[in-house]
Amino acid sequence: MAEPGADDAKSAPKPRRETVWDQGGRVALGLILPLALVIGWESAVHTGLAQGRLMPPPSRIAVTLYDLAASGDLWMHVQATLVRVALGFAFGAVAGIAAGALTGALPTARHILDPTLQALRAVPSLAWVPLFILWLGILETPKVALIAVGVFFPVYIGVAGAIASVDRKLIEVGRIFRLSTLQLARRILLPAVLPATLTALRTGLGLGFLFVVAAELMGASEGLGYLLIDGQQFSKADQILAAIIAFAILGKLADTVLVAVTRPLTRWQDTARETL
């Protein structure tokens, strides 16, 4: 049906795309402050305004980082930390999704499980550390367990909340088209809870990095956290800062990868739709 309709005219003007220049400009703005700090700090140390022992200048941190990387130590520590986060995240996320789905879908399960989980959540997770060491020894298991606990709660809360808040009106659409329970779960519930679940996973991953530091501080012979303690014990401020920078980069990278991998799943949500 040909329609010289009003709405076709409405959709004609294309939304203005953000150009490479716009993006570059924005990134440049964000870089001003850190660059100023780096340069200021560096020159303060060089001109003798500040002492470099407790506050090593950026150049020295860079050298330390480079040396660590060149000797292969950095990679070993990064790997150790990454494996712990990955394992803890996997266990915590799977358990959190399972528990969240169960309590979100079945009221009885919610009444049984949720009060206990909420009570456990009220315990600051680091309080478990002594108990975990007592139970699980001082090797990898307690570390992974601690990280998993840290990841579990945000994922559980996020998934349960997402399921509880699925729009009943959309479920009725599924009923009108006579979907079976399984189809309803796959075609309506799952896509509806996906965005909130991914957000919860992101929060969980962030907490995973938070807890890996705690876990490694409780005693480790490798890992970025070990570099922190080692640096503290031998007054190597440059090593501490190098480890902190490595943590920041690693955390950001992990988050970026998670977002990139899950991006296609929530493309319908993008506020500015530029693809297609």
Binding site: M1, E3, G5, A6, D7, D8, K10, S11, K169, L170, E172, V173, R175, I176, F177, R178, R187, I188, P191, A192, L194, W268, Q269, R273, L276
Partner: protein
């Protein structure tokens, strides 16, 4: 043929939403349900759609009793209720997953063409205006070829121009397969523009009050004397349905309390 036989609905909180509704609609007729707020129009459609169960009475479509969603009955909600994670075409094809891909595609394309959205097939729902979204939801209901199509105030959120445009799309779709249509509306003009019969409902408890046949030729001119006469008759019936509530309601209420 759709037959509602002594259909009643009492909600779990005791609200008597429908009281012994009898209505027979031959295949292909367009019936407009009109009535004040709370007189049970949405309840009636939800029962016929099989989303809720009747307390008493029955709904029979061509000899089959309807107690749960039925493939021959489609429903357009008051809001578009599109699935935000599916694009326009996939929303329209939501109920067609049992069909082969080529057939499904062809049907979707045709339905979108019929509601004038052929060019927007790959858009997300949120990129459409309210009127466009409601057209998608009408296409989604029609594409399954229902024998009965239920529409609950589908155009009430739209401006008069868009509404008139959508009346045209709705009638064009209806012309193709001639489903039975029950459309709830607050707008007497809409009833006169679309329906073969206007059924006026009365609240507390919801009952059918009056039925006004609108045997007007299509396409209809709202300014024609016939249309104006029909409008006056419906308005008069609506007036009556609201006024004698004091006269009839107490005895009725006493009966079922």
């Amino acid at each position: 043929m759709l037959t509602l036989d002594s259909l009643s609905k009492t909600y779990s909180d005791g609200t008597r939403a429908l009281e012994r509704i009898d209505l027979t609609v031959p295949q292909g007729e367009i019936v407009a349900l009109i009535g004040g707020s709370g007189c049970g129009k949405t309840t009636l459609l939800r029962l016929v759609a099989g989303l809720d169960r009747a307390s008493e009475g029955s709904i029979v479509l061509d000899g089959e009793t309807i107690a749960q969603p039925h493939p021959g009955v489609g429903l357009v909600f008051q809001e578009p209720r599109l699935l935000p994670w599916l694009d326009v075409a996939d929303n329209v094809g939501f109920g067609l997953s049992h069909l082969a891909k080529t057939e499904r595609k062809a049907r979707i394309a045709h339905a979108l063409e019929m509601v004038g959205l052929g060019e927007h097939a790959r858009r997300w729902p949120r990129e459409l205006s309210g009127g466009q979204q409601q057209r998608v939801s009408i296409a989604r209901a029609f594409v399954a070829n229902p024998r009965v199509l239920l529409l609950d105030e589908p155009f009430s959120a739209l401006d008069a121009f868009t509404r008139k445009d959508l009346h045209g799309h709705l009638l064009a779709l209806w012309q193709e397969t001639k489903p039975t249509i029950l459309i709830v509306t607050h707008d007497v003009g809409e009833a006169v523009a679309l329906a073969d019969r206007a059924v006026v409902m009365r609240p507390k408890p919801g009952r059918l009050d009056d039925a006004i046949p609108l045997a007007l030729a299509r396409p209809r001119d709202p300014a024609s004397p016939h249309s104006e006469a029909a409008t006056r008759r419906i308005l008069a019936a609506l007036d009556r349905s609201l006024k004698p509530a004091q006269a009839a309601a107490p005895t009725e209420a006493a009966q079922w309390w």
